[in-house]
């Protein structure tokens, strides 16, 4: 139970153009244990999707993993031949994307799109695949599953499609489900349904979930541990309760303050000044320094390391610097 299922170490992924390299993910490390629900939060553009695509090895042309390793269930994914990687994708490790509206092939029926994966990975008969498909659709709470398999994506609503996507990801019973902003495009009431569903699956099937989101509310509701990302790096991580109770990094604090809370009634929302720096044009020293309310001289010169802090979490900030430097052990 203590072995990490997924262990990402010092991952560096970049978009390589002829004359410059944009490091979208820079020295990123984290791990997920079996059956655990972990959140990766951060604002738009901080590299969440690039991280997940690096893990799935689905990076688009032009993007490359420059450094680091990704161990999944005892194998190093980055050195795996494409064919073996394919056998893992959709089978041991599955992914749900942000855009349920466009992530299903519009010209194929729902049933076919799910069966395809089963037949490919499990080498079962068509008939068997169909039974399993109907089964999984029922499990994700789709009424009339027998009818839905004969429908096209356009005939389904956004929430239904996202359920189909989850069904498709879950059908081979993967050990890890990566969900990249699975509810961002959905309405609140539908979001509640989907989050509910994911929780149930996690509980019943023991599937570990890496939930990628920018919504701290969702994190608080769903996850056990949180990794906060800023500009391609993890700036803070901790157990969810600890983090929400006592965030250490000024960025995490800022985020929490800026999130409006029901019934809070403040005159002004807390905000973080300035905006996320451009990857082309990153500041020297701590990446958050230009926006940080507690900025110190050292912040503009040196890059802080991710270090253990009191209470078990990790934080990348000079304010919380302690004597023992993080050595890359288990975290």
């Amino acid at each position: 139970m203590n072995d990490p299922l997924l262990k990402v170490s010092h991952l560096q992924t970049a978009f390589v153009h002829d004359n410059h390299v944009l490091k979208a993910v820079n020295d990123l490390s984290f791990s997920i244990r079996k059956g655990e629900t972990v959140a990766l939060v951060g604002e738009s553009g901080c590299g969440k999707s690039v991280t997940s695509l690096s893990i799935m090895r689905l990076l688009s042309e032009g993007a490359r993993v420059l450094n680091g390793s990704i161990w999944f269930d005892g194998v190093d994914l980055l050195t795996l031949p494409e064919k073996e990687m394919r056998a893992i994708r959709g089978n041991d490790m599955a992914m749900v994307f942000q855009e349920p509206m466009t992530s299903l092939n519009p010209v194929y029926k729902i049933g076919k799109q799910i069966e395809e994966a089963i037949i490919y990975h499990k080498k079962v008969s068509k008939h068997e695949a169909r039974t399993r498909t109907i089964d999984i659709l029922r499990q994700v709470g789709i009424p009339r599953a027998e009818a839905v398999i004969r429908e096209y994506p356009y005939q389904l609503s956004g929430g239904m499609r996202q359920r189909v996507m989850i069904a498709m990801a879950m059908v081979c019973e993967p050990k890890l489900l990566i969900a990249d902003e699975p509810t961002t495009a959905l309405d609140v009431t539908i979001q509640a349904q989907i989050l509910d569903l994911m929780k149930t699956l996690n509980r019943e099937k023991g599937t570990a979930i890496l939930l990628i989101t920018h919504d701290l509310g969702v994190v608080a509701e769903m996850c056990e541990r949180v990794f906060v990302m800023y500009c391609g790096k993890i700036v803070e991580s901790n157990d969810v309760k600890a983090l929400f109770a006592d965030a250490k990094h000024p960025y995490t604090k800022g985020l929490l303050n800026a999130t409006p809370k029901l019934g809070q009634h403040v005159d002004h929302l807390g905000s973080i000044k300035g905006s996320v720096p451009n990857l082309n044009n990153l500041p020297e020293g701590c990446l958050f320094a230009p926006r940080c309310p507690n900025v110190m001289a050292v912040c503009q010169e040196k890059v802080p390391e991710l270090e253990l802090i009191e209470g078990g979490g990790l934080c990348r900030c000079f304010l919380h610097k302690r004597e023992s430097v993080f050595q890359g052990g288990d975290f």
Binding site: S44, E99, G158, T184, N280
Partner: protein
């Protein structure tokens, strides 16, 4: 229906603070083939402008003793039935072919784009009328339309320009209409409308620039077609008049000699091929850079 939050972020944040043009050239340079084609076009334009000053022989210099010679040092591409230097004529013909291509498409583009803008912007019956007429013109095979128009107006290069431009009109009307339709729903057009901008301002100030990249790309691609069509008309005897060294006309008059003196057909044919090729390649590159969705 569902708002997709932050969809534009990554796109926008990538763009460095560079001017539109330097960005454009940087992108275009990457399209190696098209960039080369663009340089060839500049070369062709140069030839069209100063070529007639450089050619070794006057295009009307006849020498019946030296007729139908193959390529020699004296006549690089040989001579035609009147002993005229084919190389000189091809060089001199560049100006004609390029201007035919350019002007016919220009006229077609101006009229067609205007109609497309109006149709796309106002919609309703104006749209119906303009689009039905362009359907009719579309259903009318272009070459036949051109033949008919030249038959009505009489042969000659100017009429070829008119004929070719007429059948460019519905093409431009269509694509400009469709990009107008999408530009019309663009939020910034609505924004301008909400601050009280008049239709004229909306159309020409806000929408038109948005369709411009489509027009430019299509423009370059049509030039090739126009040159080909003009050459086909000349081939059918409906084009340029002698002694004009229009390539299609040269080709047409040389086809009798296909077996005896193939060079008089091959070289103008290659000139047409090359010119149309570079315009097409360049248009391709432009399209990839400017990225309008053109269905052609």
């Amino acid at each position: 229906m569902n708002q997709v939050v932050g969809v534009h972020h990554s796109v926008a944040k990538n763009q460095k603070s560079r001017s539109f043009y330097s960005l454009f050239f940087a992108k275009l340079r990457k399209q190696k083939l098209s960039f080369a084609a663009g340089i060839c076009i500049l070369g062709l334009i140069l030839v069209a402008v100063i070529g007639p000053l450089l050619i070794p022989y006057k295009i009307t210099d006849v020498d019946y003793e030296a007729s139908l010679q193959g390529p020699t040092l004296k006549h690089w591409l040989g001579t035609d039935p009147y002993g005229r230097d084919i190389f000189s004529r091809i060089i001199a013909g560049t100006r004609i072919s390029l201007s035919v291509g350019f002007f016919s498409v220009l006229i077609g583009a101006v009229i067609g784009s205007f109609l497309g803008l109006i149709a796309g912007f106002y919609g309703k019956w104006i749209d119906s009328i303009i689009m039905r007429i362009s359907d009719v013109l579309f259903a009318f095979p272009g070459m036949i339309l051109a033949i008919g128009i030249v038959a009505i107006l009489g042969p000659g290069i100017n009429n070829v320009v008119i004929a070719v431009s007429v059948f460019s009109v519905p093409h431009f009307a269509r694509i400009v209409r469709s990009s107008t339709l999408s530009a019309r729903t663009a939020l910034y057009v609505e924004a301008a409308q909400s601050i009280g901008a008049k239709n004229r301002r909306l159309i020409f100030y806000h929408i038109f620039p948005e369709t411009l990249s489509t027009i430019i790309v299509y423009f370059t691609m049509r030039i090739g077609t126009a040159i080909l069509t003009a050459a086909s008309l000349s081939f059918l005897g409906l084009g340029a008049q002698p002694p004009s060294p229009e390539w299609g006309a040269m080709l047409s008059s040389g086809r009798d000699y296909l077996e005896t003196a193939p060079h008089i057909t091959i070289f103008p044919g290659l000139a047409i091929f090359f010119t149309v090729l570079v315009f097409n390649l360049f248009g391709d590159g432009l399209r990839d850079v400017l990225d309008p969705k053109i269905k052609d």
